[in-house]
Structures are given as C-alpha cells and as structure tokens.
C-alpha cells in the first residue's frame, strides 16, 4: 500500500499549519463545556445523600485522573508511531504530552487527597487508584528525566519512546498488582464513585467535564506541538513563511 499520503500528511509544515488552525476549534468548545459543567456541578447538581456537598470534588478529581492516564496513552502511542515509522512529528507529539500529563497527575493526587480527608479522615489512603496515580507520576518524571538527560534531540526522542512503550505495557501490570496488594490487605477501596449508578443530574456535569478536559488537552497539545515542531526543524524554507 502506498503510504506517501500518510507521510505527506504528517510532514512538519503541514502539521504545523493544521495545528494552528485547529487550536481554536478545540479551545473554545473546551472552555464552554468546562464553564457550563462547573456551573452544573456546583450549583445545579443535588448534594449526595452520603457525602453531602463534598462529593463535588469529583468534578475536578475524575477529569484530572482521566486526563493523566489518557495523556500517557497518547504519549506512548505517539512515541511508538515515531519509533516505528520514524516520524519526527510523532516524537514531537509525545514530547508535548509529558508536561501536561505530569501536571494533571499531580492535580489528581492533590484533589484525591482533599477528597479523602473529609470523607475518610486522612489525607492519604493507600487506595489502589491513588497509589496507581502516584506511580504514574513517577513514570512521567522518569520520561521527562530521560528526555532531559540526553543532549541529542533525536536520541532523546527515540530513547524516551522506548521508555514510554515499556511504561504503557507495565501500567496494566502495575495496576493489577496494586489492586491485588490492596485486596490482600483488605484495605477498603475508597475512591469508588460508581458512575452508572449516579443519577443523571449528577452524572451529566461529570461527563461534560470529562469531554471539556479532553478537548482542552487537545488544544494545549496543539500549541505545544507547534513549539516542538519548530524546535526540530533545522534549516527549512517553510519556516520563513510560517514565521511571518
């Protein structure tokens, strides 16, 4: 099969241009969704009969946690594509993901801790979900550390791609082992907030937040991607036009 259309599509100048055009198309809907979901979650949704007003933390905790895991997945996928098909743009995508992912992993941990304190008395519980998030944070740090430690950009791209792929294979194993560990020691799994059993007026703001955060990630990724593409382009005629 002729893949030239694919490679042409993924050429840096092409992607640079598309990224620029697409950004507002993600950014504005993201903003509107998040603001609407904020209002719906804080004001419109009724208080939970068990957790009262405190459950509303889920509207920032769950999207952050979702983002952290999804971003790692995108990062690893892009890294794999870059490694297998040797596409600079794919490596640029992976590089752009890391910082965003780490940020929201931290947010998910902090919001998780702030949820835990009023609900279960302590700021930290070795719940499998929180523990897995903590390990994920170290996976992100490892990725960023490896990138920072290798001077040559191409080698950094490829080495960190191998690491990302190793990480993504390990994440299910780590998740399983942490849940197993937790169940063995009979610690209650406290972070559950069963989504299907949530009534719609509680669930809808959550879904809107999740979608809003995802679109937000796409927008921010596109901006960072443009920066990464510029960093990777040496002497290229299209640069002059693009920078005008």
């Amino acid at each position: 099969m002729n893949w030239t259309w694919f490679h042409r599509l993924a050429s840096p100048p092409h992607i640079y241009g598309i990224a620029g055009t697409l950004t507002p198309w993600f950014a504005w809907p993201a903003g509107m969704l998040i603001v609407t979901a904020l209002y719906a979650g804080l004001v419109l949704a009724p208080p939970d009969y068990q957790q009262g007003e405190g459950f509303r933390i889920i509207y920032v905790h769950a999207p952050s946690a979702w983002l952290s895991v999804m971003v790692y997945g995108v990062m690893a996928t892009a890294a794999a594509v870059g490694l297998i098909w040797r596409m600079k743009v794919a490596h640029a995508v992976a590089a752009s993901c890391a910082g965003i992912g780490a940020w929201f992993t931290v947010v998910s941990l902090i919001t998780g801790m702030l949820w835990g304190k009023p609900m279960w008395g302590t700021y930290w519980v070795w719940d499998p979900r929180l523990t897995a998030q903590l390990i994920l944070l170290f996976l992100f740090f490892g990725y960023m550390g490896l990138r920072a430690g290798i001077d040559d950009l191409g080698r950094a791209d490829r080495a960190s791609a191998v690491l990302a792929i190793i990480g993504v294979i390990n994440i299910p194993i780590i998740r399983y082992s942490v849940e197993w560990w937790n169940s063995i020691h009979q610690a209650p799994s406290v972070m559950k907030m069963d989504r299907p059993s949530m009534p719609m007026d509680m669930l809808l703001p959550l879904l809107m937040m999740l979608l809003g955060f995802t679109l937000y990630f796409a927008a921010v990724l596109l901006v960072r991607l443009r920066a990464e593409i510029l960093r990777r382009e040496r002497s290229a005629g299209w640069l002059k036009e693009a920078l005008r």
């Binding site: 390990i135 490892g142 430690g149 191409g154 080495a159 191998v162 190793i166 942490v178």
Partner: protein, 238 residues
C-alpha cells in the same frame, strides 16, 4: 591491562549464538571475579540497610518479623540496583558494546547473556544472603525455603528490568539516579508479589499464589526485557 575483547566478530567459522552468549557470560563473570570488592558491595549494602531497621525501629523480634518482608525486599531491590549502572556503561566506554552490535550475533541474545551474568553476580548472592538477614529480623527458619524461592524468582525480573533501564540511560551523564527513578516504578509488581510471598512464608502458609505471579513476571521479563534493552542500547550507541 585492558579488558579482554571478544573475538566473535572475527572468528571463523561463524560462532553460533549460544556459543557467543557463553563467551559473553564467561567474560563478564571472569571480569567480575577479578574485582572481588565490587562483588561484595551489593551484599554489604543489603546487610547494612537491613540491619539499620532494628536500630531505627525496635529490637523486638515480633515486631520486626511483621515488617521483615518489606524490609528484605526493599533492601534487596536497592542493593541490586547498585550494580546496574555498570552493567552496560563500561562496555559502552571501551567499545565492547559496539562490537556486540556489529558482530552479526543477535544483540538481544548477547544482552540477555550479560543480564544473566548480572543476576549470577548480584541477584543470586542477594537471594542466598536473605535468609541469614531474615534471622536478624526474627524470621523463622521454616520460612527460609519460601524466601529463597521468592527472592530467586523476583531477582531475575529485577535484573531484567534493570537491564532495560541501564540500556536507556547509557547516553545520560550521571545516569545512576535516573536509572533508579526509571527502574523502581517498574519494579513495583515484583515488590508487591515478592513481599506477599515472603509474608506468607513467615506465617507458615502456602505461598504458591504469589510465587506463580512472580514466575509469570519473570517469564514476561525474559521474553520482553532483552528486546527493549537491545533497542535502548542501539539508540544509546548512535
């Protein structure tokens, strides 16, 4: 005197894969034996770290027994990481790794041989030492075989994970700390299953469940880790 260089690349007739691996293994073992102080260091570290816990916590053997699984495994994990940094670095500096790459032998196999050498020199001795240190933590003698099995299996996986990390950090200056940061999260499943196995052994219960899980991790490691390590080394040598 410089390290003996391999002659796999120039020997005629072509050396078979297994023979090449055996050469690599023998070379690493011979080199390590020439520096006995370096051999002892991870063992000494293992001992020191383990023995710090009674001093830092309590001399009561009953209480120590409760934390023994965690202490033994974390100490073993940290000790085995000490020697990981030099797994590939010296060979990269003196050009031996490049010889591996151009030798025509599968790099995966040669690196697997090096990892086996690392396990024989670090993981296995640590495993054999663990029951002795366990005594200091109040571990009953009946638990010793279980601990040997668990650490034996787990240390194989740890060496394999370490090989991946060592390959990735080849190009990084002062990569030792980064190596630990990369390796430790990946080692969490081994730690979890291994510590549980040790806990069951101490309690006198059957530890087949966690042992099977440790075995599964080892199999997964043996099949996948050398591939990743080879990819990483190739990238690191560019």
């Amino acid at each position: 005197m410089s390290a003996p260089t391999l002659i796999v690349a120039t020997t005629l007739p072509r050396v078979g894969v297994l023979a090449a691996c055996a050469q690599v293994l023998r070379r690493d073992l011979r080199l390590a034996v020439r520096r006995p102080t370096q051999l002892i260091q991870p063992l000494a570290f293992f001992a020191v770290v383990t023995l710090l816990f009674p001093l830092g916590y309590t001399p009561e053997l009953g209480k120590l027994r409760a934390i023994a699984p965690g202490v033994l495994w974390v100490a073993a994990l940290l000790a085995s990481m000490l020697t990981l940094d030099s797994l590939f670095r010296e060979d990269a500096t003196d050009g031996t790794l490049e010889q591996f790459v151009v030798s025509g032998q599968p790099l995966v196999a040669l690196l697997a041989a090096k990892t086996l050498a690392h396990w024989l020199l670090t993981g296995l001795p640590l495993t054999l030492m663990a029951p002795i240190l366990g005594i200091a933590l109040g571990v009953p003698t009946a638990a010793m075989p279980g601990i040997l099995f668990a650490l034996g299996l787990g240390s194989i996986t740890l060496s394999l994970i370490g090989a991946m990390g060592a390959g990735l950090t080849l190009g990084v200056r002062r990569g030792g700390v980064l190596l630990s940061l990369l390796t430790l999260p990946l080692a969490v499943p081994v730690l979890v299953f291994g510590a549980r196995a040790t806990e069951l052994a101490i309690a006198g219960d059957s530890l087949t469940g966690p042992l099977y899980l440790l075995g599964a991790l080892a199999v997964l490691g043996v099949t996948l880790a050398p591939l990743a390590a080879a990819a990483a080394v190739r990238i690191g040598l560019e």
